[in-house]
Amino acid sequence: MPTALPPAASDRAWFPLFAAWTIASISTLGALFLGEVMGLAPCVLCWYQRIFMFPLVLVLGAGLFPADPRAVRYALPLALAGWLVAAYHLLLVSGFVPASLVPCDAGGVSCSEVTVRWLGFITIPLLSVAAFSLILLALVAALPRKHP
């Protein structure tokens, strides 16, 4: 069993890894802008999405140099978990999940309340679902192929 993957495999994986890293970085800075600059307090669900998004910047960043397609193995669980929380949050603000089920108001910030709506439909949970979806797609594209 080879300890290092052939150069071709790592070359092919580099760009999708880089794309995923870029999206994670933009999302992280965006979340920090909303929270620290605009002063919007993150609700509990936002915190869980941050918990899964922020480490992606470091894990994927470490996977870029040297190009290491196995970074996907470590990033995928984070991206998947983040996607699930974001999808739940989006369903919640869209009214598909009753808000009474959410243990959110302990910190005083409601998760079901929409604080930002750009262009009439872009909400923070929608951006989060989009970001996690794109990261997942990029990670799948970077998955190492089985050698024949």
């Binding site: 970085s25 800075l29 920090l32 802008f33 600059v37 960043g61 870029l64 140099f65």
Partner: protein, 219 residues
């Protein structure tokens, strides 16, 4: 190698965009606050507000304060020092921003102490002993009473006065004014009608200095 450079440049670009957006956003907010305060000058300066310092002082600080706010308590000694440095030129008015749970009762108490001529002693005692009567950002009036021993208040009268409709009207006016001025955090300072460009004690000192200079009183 050039991949490393490329990623470094992208990272740099992202951070630069973040910092640029932060700068633009803050500048815009500060500008909005300035014009909001200018348009609502009436809401800022009310005759009913407790005021310290000479009436003719050229620099007037209006502080929106919540007695249960930790930062307000931390800033109080600094503000007193600032006033002591300019005893003839700086005046301070207190407006209320009851943003913490339970602070309405404490504000009623403060205003009732004013009727006994012991407002500033009471305010100082409340802020100094704040830890003893707040818990998880909630003010507990029942824990305030034991702190007031040294102030020399007539507690029976104080409790009766706290129900006064005049005090209720004053608080309601302050709450209307803080909404008009979009005060959402405490302490919030306005110096001669201008909000702080950014939060902090140094920006407050700088703004006071500017106004002193404008009035020809700077040293």
């Amino acid at each position: 190698m050039n991949k490393k450079l490329f990623v470094a440049l992208v990272a740099l670009l992202l951070v630069a965009v973040f910092m640029g957006a932060t700068y633009v956003y803050r500048a815009e907010k500060a500008q909005q606050a300035v014009s909001l305060a200018a348009r609502n000058r009436d809401a800022l300066v009310r005759a009913h507000a407790p005021t310290l310092g000479p009436a003719q002082a050229p620099v007037h600080i209006v502080e929106f304060l919540d007695p249960a706010c930790e930062t307000c308590a931390a800033f109080w000694p600094l503000v007193k020092q600032l006033m002591a440095r300019h005893p003839r030129d700086v005046r301070l008015s207190i407006r209320y921003a009851p943003l913490h749970q339970g602070s309405l009762d404490v504000i009623r108490l403060l205003e009732a102490s004013r009727l006994q001529g012991r407002y500033w002693e009471t305010l100082e005692t409340l802020l100094r002993t704040q830890n003893a009567w707040t818990e998880h950002h909630t003010a507990r009036i029942e824990r305030v009473w034991p702190q007031l021993g040294g102030v020399g208040l007539d507690l029976a009268r104080l409790k009766a006065d706290m129900a006064s409709p005049a005090i209720e009207r004053l608080i309601e006016q302050d709450v209307r004014d803080l909404r008009a001025l979009n005060v959402s955090k405490t302490p919030e300072y306005f110096v001669n009608g201008r909000p702080l460009p950014e939060f902090g004690f140094d920006p407050l000192v700088a703004l006071v200095q500017q106004e002193l200079q404008a009035a020809g009183r700077a040293r």
